[in-house]
Amino acid sequence: MANNDKRIGEALAVAACGLLGAAAPSASRAAEPGSGWDVDTAFLFYGESDGRVKDASVSALAIRDYGDERKLSLDMTLDTLTGASPNGAIASDLPQTFTSPSGRSTYTTPAGEIPLDSSFHDTRVALNASWSQPFARLYSVDAGLGFSSEIDYQHLGLNAGITRDFNQRNTTASFSVAYGFDTVKPVGGVPAPFAAMGDAVGEDDEGNASGQAGSNQDKKVLDVLAGFSQVLGRHSVLRVNYSYSDSSGYLTDPYKVLTVVDPVTGEPVLRTPPPGVEGPGGIYLFEHRPDSRRRQGLYTELRQDFSGNVLQLGYRYSTDDWGIDSHTLEGRLRFPLGESGYLEPHLRYYTQTAASFYRYSLANGAPLPEFASADARLADMDAYTVGVKYGHQTPQGNEWSARLEYYEQTAKAPAETLIGNQPGTVQMPDFSAVILQFSYHFKL
């Protein structure tokens, strides 16, 4: 009977922990002390449908264990992005011409198609370094810094955290803070809020003809993460993270516009550029987002071993003061295949509500809202990912793996954002993408 009571108690505790548990940013794949460097490398190809964004990237993560849980971690990523990206304008029955972000040329979207800006290309380099070490009995501290650079964006970040073990190291609590200082330097300058897209100015002139708000803007992001992880038994471990993020500064996408439409037909209002000048054939206003955003999130992850098969289940809830609430559900099941391989299918589902200032377009003649964006990433959205990973251990203890994933995203403009005859003719820039990654893990 006493035994039964204990079991019931344990079951209740598991259930309670299931509601809320814990997380520690421990350097994974614990390197053997004194064994030198533990290196993860990856090549990634990410490609979207219909000639949209493509990203080829290489990454490396190296962890050096100096013994006594003192660890240095270095990582580097190099991305090359090409392809076309939606500019925020709506599709029309007529071809549409736009001025490119540089302000030096124009591009034309065929009738019936979602306008894409094909001048989208970028190279990104990101470097991060962090150090972790014990601080006192049961405590460890970590600190890191990061840097990334793109043609039009720079990021500088600092982070620090403290972790404490409890309960014979079955429970871990952690608290981390990160601060990011970013600079946005849009090609063609920073457009003024709701400035109309200007005419092309030719190859010799500088900048975009639209209203300018300088050549660069700042953005600051403060992130706080409180985590708990809990060993539930010999075969399972749970973590729960609470996260808080406060962004301030320039949070607008400098390349996205909104289409000004006829309030009755919902079709773009037409415009004729001055004689001898190339320019937009409609009225397109640069978007304007609030200059602050506060987000809170709850993330839960469970790892459960079933005789050598490992199930990983994750759920994330996020809410912010822009009105975007999201739920993410994710699952992976890793099972051994052959002598030294494993197969890991993966499923992910994501859903979000639209930002309160999301607009499909703007009505001509109506007063401008305080904020507006037609970025589909701020609309109602559902997305799912299906993938599989295969990994193989070499006799030397190294591991190579390959994973292939398929991602599909469907956005929806909330009905109240539609104007005139738009209901029924709405086209959103939905897309699918393929993620292909090869990885190699080795020791140096």
Binding site: R29, S59, H155, S243, R377
Partner: protein, 73 residues
């Protein structure tokens, strides 16, 4: 404090109290010590995924600080 927040704190508190009874002895960690049972077993995959979803969706983060530092959103 809203009722929602109070409930959250209550659940958090009771969960942590419940957790004190959980766990294993040091010699029972054979499975938990395996690479594939670590909460961050595949840090590079996680970082890559966070970065992709950060650029394509309206919310990001939660698992760690990954994904940020990019003009793609």
């Amino acid at each position: 404090m809203t009722g929602k927040q109070a409930l959250l704190i209550l659940i958090a508190g009771s969960s942590l109290a419940g957790c004190a009874n959980l766990g294993v002895k040091p010699w029972e960690r054979e499975v938990l010590a395996r690479d594939d049972m670590q909460l961050d077993a595949q840090p590079l995959d996680t970082a890559i995924d966070d970065h992709i979803y950060f650029s394509k969706e309206g919310t990001s983060g939660g698992r760690g600080f990954g994904g940020g530092g990019c003009g793609c959103n």
